[in-house]
């Protein structure tokens, strides 16, 4: 038995833009156990429902996380709509789906860049983020914001996308797809990249289930789980299949996310083809009364929204269970028996979003 040492990891660490703290118990170079310490970003915004009414809270929900901001707003709005029996016009649903898939595209590109940065492939990081800027340009043109759009509202969306702009989005995405193929082929084929990701942090199908993993983390271990198949918003009218991989290692998770980016582009194309005309939102009157669980598929996995209303303007409770919260136990398990040098990559492959997790 080697010497036991404890190495603190974070809260300020070059690999992660966000603070999380792990106490890594090492035996020589091998991690025996990882003890998390969270709470650096805990704001307590679930309790803010007591001070903001249900329509104002939409802005708060969007700021749970700046990366999947649109889908947080969408999840919250959907839960209120379900309680109040509001039917969102079809065009509104399609627009939501377009923005949601664009968000997934930008989030996965962001993640690819950070992964490349974690294993020291600087130019690949730059390439991924350069591609991502094209998605952000679409956001800016259609919503006015690059990161947080405030375009989702209870009852629909606030802004329409004209058919010329939709055509333009199509052209941009077609061009981007080519570049994306080139960039992502490095992640799939490059020997040095494969050396860092293949066989690292293996999570078997059974382990993934036993640890309650969600999203790409579960799909890369062979569990077919994708909330989009439940057909919320406009997904019921689109044709797609969840992407899975049996590898269970960092390489498999990278492949799943890369395939999902192409899937997102395809879904946006389908939306542009099928989008109907008509209204984009309905006026919402009255106050909600009742409770509802809503589950969506975010870039990082399944998110659960629980809202409970009491018939007044102020809700009793909003509870968000974010994907990273569900993936943390799986991360802690994969960290066991890995080498210290692999820790940053392992933390990154769950695509952690700490500000979601701690709310």
């Amino acid at each position: 038995m080697g010497n036991r040492t404890i190495v603190p990891f974070g809260p300020q660490h070059p690999v992660l833009p966000e603070p999380i703290h792990l106490d890594l118990v090492l035996e020589d170079e091998t991690v025996v156990e990882a003890i998390p310490r969270i709470g650096y970003i805990h704001r307590g915004l679930e309790k803010l429902v007591e001070k903001r009414d249900y329509q104002q809270y939409c802005y708060v929900a969007e700021r749970i996380c700046g990366i999947c901001s649109f889908m947080h707003g969408m999840g919250y709005c959907m839960s209120i709509e379900r309680i109040m029996d509001v039917e969102v016009p079809e065009r509104g649903e399609f627009l939501r789906t377009i923005w949601a898939e664009l968000s997934r595209l930008h989030s996965h590109l962001l993640w690819l860049g950070l992964l490349a940065d974690a294993f020291g492939f600087e130019s690949l990081f730059m390439q991924s983020w350069k591609l991502r800027e094209q998605v952000l340009d679409i956001f800016e043109e259609t919503t006015g914001g690059r990161v947080i759009f405030s375009v989702c509202d209870i009852g629909g969306v606030r802004k329409d996308i004209s058919s010329e702009t939709l055509m333009k989005i199509r052209t941009v995405l077609t061009e981007m797809e080519k570049e994306l193929k080139e960039t992502t082929s490095v992640f799939i084929n490059d020997t040095t990249v494969k050396l860092r990701t293949k066989g690292v942090g293996v999570l078997t199908k059974q382990m993934a289930f036993d640890l309650g993993a969600v999203g790409p983390m579960a799909r890369a271990s062979g569990i077919e789980m994708d909330m989009r198949t439940q057909g919320y918003s406009a997904y019921g009218k689109l044709d797609f299949k969840p992407i899975t991989n049996d590898g269970g290692d960092c390489y498999a998770r990278t492949r799943v996310r890369i395939k999902e980016m192409f899937q997102s582009i395809d879904l946006i194309r389908q939306c542009i083809d099928k989008i109907p005309g008509g209204d984009i939102n309905v006026k919402v009157k009255g106050t909600p009364n009742g409770e509802q669980f809503i589950r969506l598929e975010q870039p990082r996995g399944e998110v659960v929204y629980y809202t409970k209303a009491n018939g007044t303007k102020f809700l009793d409770r909003v509870r968000v269970r974010t994907p990273t919260f569900a993936n943390l136990p799986a991360l802690l398990e994969t960290l066991k028996n890995c080498s210290l040098a692999d820790v940053p990559i392992l933390i990154l492959t769950i695509d952690p979003c700490i500000s979601c997790t701690e709310r």
């Binding site: 833009p17 709470g39 650096y40 970003i41 700021r63 952000l136 500000s355």
Partner: protein
């Protein structure tokens, strides 16, 4: 050593307070090809002892106050602090949350405030450029002795 070097090539340390990530990813976006702050000689470093400018996104809370203070103290003089985004300035939309103490200036002196939710890369770059002048002034005000001597 001539500290003009600092003005030509300031190194940045980025710390995320309780930010929602919106400003963080914009800070990172500044480094990438479209905005490319490296053309100003700006590099993002992970080591506070290498840094001249501290960029903080998000507000402070009980648990990260010691971290922010420690990072600030570890940075060598002269140094400047840029609060990026409305949360770092005043707490923003989260100001009323029970675990938000308020803007970064409650803990350490802030030199430049960058507005926005999320702050745009252009304004972040502008904030950093403003911080450069402040750095130069601070350097002038420093006693004429070599760095590292007490």
């Amino acid at each position: 050593m001539n500290l003009n070097v600092v003005k030509k090539s300031p190194w940045i340390l980025h710390y995320d307070g309780t930010s929602c990530n919106g400003c963080d990813i914009e800070v990172l976006a500044c480094l990438t090809p479209l905005y490319d702050v490296e053309r100003f000689g700006i590099i993002n470093t992970g080591n506070p002892k290498h840094a001249d400018i501290l960029l903080i996104t998000g507000s402070v809370n009980e648990q990260n106050i010691p971290v922010v203070k420690q990072l600030y103290e570890q940075m060598p003089e002269p140094k400047a602090v840029v609060a990026v985004g409305i949360c770092a300035t005043s707490g923003g939309i989260f100001a009323e949350c029970y675990n938000v103490a308020g803007g970064v200036d409650k803990v350490i002196p802030v030199d430049v405030y960058v507005p926005g939710c999320a702050a745009r890369p252009e304004s972040i770059i502008d904030g950093v450029v403003k911080a450069l002048d402040i750095l130069a002034e601070k350097k002038k005000a420093m006693p004429k002795k070599r760095i590292g001597e007490k």
